[in-house]
């Protein structure tokens, strides 16, 4: 599967893409933490951080349509949560708190998005393990990331095969058992594959510790 559906824009070649991953992680973390630590309704600082993030995103040449798509999934959740504050205070107060919650969430979200959209996932992991993420954890992350593509492929093929032999409308119960089988089958096949992968790893001298080139 030509898989760019996960970190779609991470392979670009802009200023942001060329920055060292470690620096980008530190930058993004600083923005997220800074935003969280700012007191409520300290607008100039909030504004600065928001501007910073937008500049970063535009330097990285991430299409606006993509951002809008992402935000459309993210914003409703945050907006409703934020609105519950003024609502609970009877429309009198709490607007500042609400706005702060929205801005905090937004800036953190966009900063995180900037980070993953400018750094291929494997580089991100390498940098994170340099910054102290446990080796085993980052190795597992890389492993999982790799096999997500394989499993999506497998899942798609199994779904197709199932659809090919179902005709017309099915009851909810039938669809439900069919879906259960799909997940069960995926699980079985994935676990069998894990055993084979283990064999392949051990065959190439693996003794349990994760080594990388850097």
């Amino acid at each position: 599967m030509p898989g760019d559906f996960l970190d779609r824009y991470s392979l670009g070649n802009t200023v942001c893409h060329r920055l060292p991953p470690t620096l980008k992680i530190v930058l993004a973390a600083a923005v997220i933490a800074g935003c969280a630590l700012l007191p409520v309704a300290y607008w100039p600082a909030h504004g600065c951080l928001a501007c910073l993030v937008f500049v970063g995103l535009s330097l990285a040449e991430i299409p606006l349509s993509y951002l809008v798509h992402r935000l459309a999934l993210f914003l409703p959740l945050v907006l409703v949560t934020a609105l519950s504050v003024p609502l609970s205070r009877g429309f009198a107060g709490g607007w500042e708190i609400a706005a702060t919650v929205v801005i905090r969430s937004l800036v953190a979200f966009l900063a995180a998005l900037w980070l993953v959209s400018t750094t291929p996932f494997d580089r991100l992991l390498a940098a994170m393990s340099r910054l102290g993420m446990p080796r085993l954890f980052s190795a597992l992350l890389a492993f999982t990331y790799r096999y997500i593509y394989v499993l999506f492929d497998e899942l798609a093929r199994m779904k197709t095969a199932q659809r090919a032999r179902t005709f017309g409308k099915r009851s909810a119960w039938q669809r439900w058992t069919a879906t259960t089988r799909l997940v069960g089958l995926l699980l079985i096949r994935a676990l069998n594959r894990a055993v084979r992968i283990h064999g392949a790893m051990v065959s190439r001298g693996w003794r349990g510790d994760m080594r990388t080139l850097d």
């Binding site: 996960l6 970190d7 973390a29 997220i32 969280a36 959740l77 945050v78 409703v80 949560t81 609105l83 519950s84 609502l87 609970s88 702060t100 929205v102 801005i103 905090r104 969430s105 953190a108 979200f109 995180a112 998005l113 993953v116 996932f121 991100l124 446990p134 085993l136 954890f137 190795a139 597992l140 992350l141 492993f143 999982t144 096999y147 997500i148 999506f152 909810a172 119960w173 439900w176 058992t177 879906t179 259960t180 089988r181 799909l182 997940v183 069960g184 089958l185 995926l186 699980l187 079985i188 994935a190 676990l191 594959r193 894990a194 055993v195 992968i197 283990h198 790893m201 051990v202 349990g208």
Partner: protein, 332 residues
């Protein structure tokens, strides 16, 4: 269910982060200690399965909506609680890093609510029930109950976190608890059915997959009964007493006062959280019988969540032994 940044306060994020890091770190250690190297690819693959399976939409038979698997309990049943916990932590990390699903600061809270509770707590409940009723029926029942409780316990935990984050006098903890857990007791039905369905499929097609780590029965039988009885009693007490306690003087409020910890002041709040606003249409859970019911439920879930987590600690040694039994046979 993923919490974005900015929803919880920094202290709560930190606290949850420390707790989650502890649980995940412990699980990673357990993973590293296991006799077989095979657990590493198994864990990674389990995470990939959960990630992929979450994309599969389940038609919910009784509602015109779709549900999807969360997977903590399923992962723990198939690969064991430690590997399941790590797998869930990985899934949540990937969702955060790739989809920006859940904030970076709130990762600890997310991992705690969905990963740790689901896999460690869920597995404890599953193994109690499945050991109680032998055969596939016990396993399916265990999976169903554990999956349901894991969702509800996760939501209970979230409401605690949320309340702790907003201690500025905005919250009515019991009511928040009631709303959250009632809604999630519905969401949990989906999770329970899906987990139960997948487990029963696995048992039909490949029984050895779940049966494999058979434990020596004698050692655990006695302990299991004690724990089981204790759990039932605790749940019953919680279910019956909680509504009365909350109707009179609020139990939590009293506790808070007694400990000079009066930050949970009662003010009427209609907290509406996006994920959780749909269910019981037309029912106001803040009054009458519904209120009692929901508070009773809240009591049950709170109790079982705590029970589940504490049980895990008791199971450490046994699981280690069982894992060793099962894996010592493989070379590698």
């Amino acid at each position: 269910m993923h919490i974005a940044d900015g929803i919880l306060s920094n202290e709560v994020c930190l606290g949850a982060g420390v707790l989650a890091a502890g649980a995940i770190g412990l699980s990673l250690r357990k993973l590293n200690d296991t006799v077989s190297l095979r657990t590493v690819p198994l864990t990674g693959m389990m995470a990939a399965v959960i990630f992929a399976a979450q994309m599969v939409k389940f038609p919910l038979a009784f509602a015109p909506a779709y549900g999807h698997l969360l997977g903590g309990v399923l992962a723990a049943i198939v690969v064991g609680p430690w590997a399941g916990c790590v797998a869930m932590a990985i899934v949540l990390f990937l969702q955060m890093a790739l989809f920006a699903d859940g904030g970076w600061l709130a990762y600890g809270a997310n991992a705690l609510n969905m990963g740790v509770v689901g896999s460690l707590g869920g597995h404890a409940i599953y193994s109690i029930i499945s050991r109680r009723f032998a055969g596939p029926r016990g396993k399916i029942a265990g999976a169903v109950v554990a999956a349901w409780l894991s969702v509800v316990a996760g939501s209970a935990l979230f409401s605690v976190e949320f309340a702790l984050s907003h201690r500025g006098g905005e919250f009515d903890l019991p009511k928040l608890f009631a709303v959250m857990t009632t809604l999630h007791s519905l969401v949990g039905v989906g999770e329970a059915l899906i987990t139960g369905g997948v487990v029963s499929y696995l048992l039909a097609v490949w029984p050895d997959l779940i049966d494999a780590p058979s434990r020596p029965p004698g050692v655990i039988a006695g302990l299991g009964r004690v724990v089981w009885t204790g759990a039932v009693v605790a749940l019953a007490v919680a279910a019956f007493l909680a509504p009365f306690a909350s109707e009179g003087a609020d139990a939590l409020e009293q506790t808070a006062e007694r400990f000079k910890f009066d930050k949970f002041e009662r003010t009427p709040v209609a907290l509406v959280l996006p994920d959780y606003e749909v269910p019981i249409p037309g029912v106001d859970v803040s009054t009458g019988a519904w209120h009692k019911l929901s508070v009773a439920l809240a009591g049950v879930f709170g109790t079982s969540a705590v029970l589940g987590i504490s049980l895990v600690l008791g199971r450490v040694a046994r699981t280690r032994l069982a894992a060793r039994d099962a894996e010592a046979t493989h070379a590698g």
